[in-house]
């Protein structure tokens, strides 16, 4: 995420990280034989789905206005 | 695996190698039966459509045109698999494979009753029908990738339509099944088929259509949309998109998409028969034949819809999915859960 500059690819990478967390949660839930890990993984999935939806909607709106290939092109609001 | 009520005489299941052997044989048998059955679904559709449109339909090859499908299959196998310039080779080849695999995989959990208490299934998972829903939602990748890889704007439009359509209808499909789960209390198809009621003098299996009619209607509409059949065949749309995602496909790969579509019809018909029509229970008639009759009738409904209804416009399709089926599904879940709590 530090090197890739395409905002779409950044979103994809966030999903990848969340998936990694899910795998750990489910693996430990099996190891420790409690179901909380799986419930947590389900919560992560819903949050990730919401995040992806909002992120993609923002991206589509931005791409309608201008053609960009680097997230740093969007830093006009920098304080 | 095949579960028989009779004891296992040769000790096949207790021995792991024999167990895997039986499972693999069962899978191959099922795939063979399914692909053959799909060919006859196509034949049935052409005959029925011909009958509806007052034309003969296939009647040249074999008695009554019965071998038309064999002729078409041989033609498709030996036709050149042409790929135009500029296609994404890998995705272009992989897409038809995904289409067939996504439909075949769902059959892993679909049980088929044979006679009395003897049923046949490959795997007995706790999530049951969720697996079928999950796997059949992979079908959209085939269509999107086929449309993307073809390097053709009409194909791309078809693929995008497929994605939008799938997202709208999958919600309604899942929601329509929730009342069934609430009533039965299980997701396994065996439990759903074997659902029995004890109402006064009557005690026995009951088709869930009587208990959840709204679910059946929503599921039927969503199933037609999921298989991309008319009146929801917007990804193909011969008149507007010259065949949509199928435009650049020919020969064997085209036949794989074709097989996937009709296999999808067969899968959804079997699912509806199992979910809402009591599966293999029919008085006086043995299981396999009862299921066969129900599936043939449901396949006929799919064909009937194609023969009578015009294709929906794109915005009408989205409006139907989001503004009609989804609220109806939510209301259905609410009412059914209240009734289930009150009556139990």
């Amino acid at each position: 995420m530090l090197i890739r500059r395409n905002p779409l690819v950044m979103l994809i990478c966030i999903e990848l990280m969340l998936n990694a967390v899910n795998l750990t949660l489910v693996a430990f839930s099996r190891q420790l034989n409690n179901r909380e890990g799986q419930l947590f993984a389900l919560m992560t999935m819903t949050v990730a789905a919401a995040e992806a939806v909002v992120g993609l909607a923002i991206l589509v709106d931005i791409f309608r206005v201008r053609d960009l290939e680097d997230v740093d092109d969007l830093s006009e609001l920098k304080g | 695996m095949i579960r028989l009520d009779t004891p296992d005489p040769f000790g096949i299941y207790s021995n792991p190698v024999g167990h895997w052997f039986v499972v693999v044989i069962a899978m191959l048998l099922l795939a063979f039966v399914l692909i053959t059955a799909t060919a006859y679904v196509v034949f049935f559709e052409r005959i029925a459509l011909g009958w509806m449109q007052r034309r003969p339909g296939p009647n040249r090859v074999g008695p009554g045109g019965f071998l038309q499908l064999a002729a078409d299959g041989v033609k498709g196998l030996f036709k050149e698999g042409f790929a135009p310039v500029g296609v994404d080779r890998v995705l272009f080849v992989v897409a038809p494979g995904i289409a067939v695999a996504s439909v075949l995989l769902g059959w892993a959990v679909i049980p088929v009753g044979i006679w009395g208490s003897i049923t046949y299934w490959i795997s007995d998972l706790n999530i049951g029908i969720l697996l079928v829903l999950a796997v059949s939602s992979m079908n959209v990748y085939a269509i999107m990738l086929g449309g993307w890889a073809s390097n053709n704007k009409y194909s791309l439009l078809g693929g995008m339509r497929a994605a939008a359509q799938l997202i709208s209808y999958e919600m309604a499909m899942g929601l329509s099944l929730v009342p069934v789960f609430l009533i039965v209390g299980s997701l396994r198809l065996q439990d759903i088929v074997g659902f029995t009621v004890h109402w006064g003098p009557y005690s026995g299996p009951i088709p869930l259509l009587l208990l959840a009619p709204v679910s059946f209607l929503i599921y039927l509409v969503a199933a037609v949309a999921e298989t991309n059949r008319a009146p929801f065949d917007l990804p193909e749309a011969e008149q507007e998109l010259i065949g949509g995602f199928l435009t650049e496909y020919s020969g064997f790969r085209f036949f794989m998409f074709y097989l996937a579509e009709y296999l999808g019809v067969l899968t959804q018909s079997t699912l509806i028969a199992l979910l809402f029509f009591g599966g293999w229970y029919l008085p006086l008639i043995p299981g396999a034949i009862a299921l066969f009759i129900k599936v043939v009738l449901l396949v006929f409904i799919f064909i009937w819809l194609r023969g009578t209804l015009p294709r929906l416009r794109y915005d009408m399709l989205m409006r139907l999915g989001w503004k009609a089926l989804l609220p109806l599904g939510i209301a259905n879940v609410l009412v059914t859960s209240i009734l289930v709590v009150l009556l139990s």
């Binding site: 530090l2 090197i3 890739r4 395409n6 779409l8 690819v9 994809i12 990478c13 999903e15 990848l16 998936n19 899910n22 795998l23 489910v26 693996a27 839930s29 099996r30 190891q31 034989n33 179901r35 909380e36 799986q38 419930l39 993984a41 389900l42 919560m43 999935m45 819903t46 990730a48 789905a49 919401a50 992806a52 939806v53 909002v54 991206l59 589509v60 290939e69 680097d70 740093d72 | 792991p16 895997w20 706790n126 999530i127 969720l130 697996l131 829903l133 999950a134 796997v135 939602s137 992979m138 990748y141 999107m144 990738l145 449309g147 993307w148 693929g159 995008m160 994605a163 799938l166 997202i167």
Partner: protein
Amino acid sequence: MGPATIVFWLASAVALAGGLGVVLFKEPIRNVLSLVLVMLSLAVLFLLLSAQFVFAVQVIVYAGAVMVLFLFVITLLGPVREQGTVRLPWQIFISAVVIAAFAGFLVAMLRGVSYRTPDAADPIFGSVQSIGVGLFTDYLFPFELTSILLLVAAVGC
């Protein structure tokens, strides 16, 4: 080595290859497809960990809906190839340092771990029933919070 072990190694290899693909491919569509591959192989791993419901949700929600949305946006925006313009060259250096530190941390942590095989799971572990009971009794409040979050996400866009 039973069939479960073979499936485990296959799924892990596919997941790792897909993860590399996500990071290394230059066209966004290949990134998304690699991520789908990762998700499907993770779903297989969930099944091996007897988390059947999480498996189904993973395939339906992630692979079936979220990734289709990504693919849809990519086809909507058209084929964009990423230019290899590196405006911030020190970022590569910093990320390399962070990766090395993290890898060292992981190795140090794993050296002190003793492994045991998990207890045999009871048949209802990870089933729809146990997940449902968990969601609607002990964890009702977070469950309702996520439903509000989803509502906001659905309405707000």
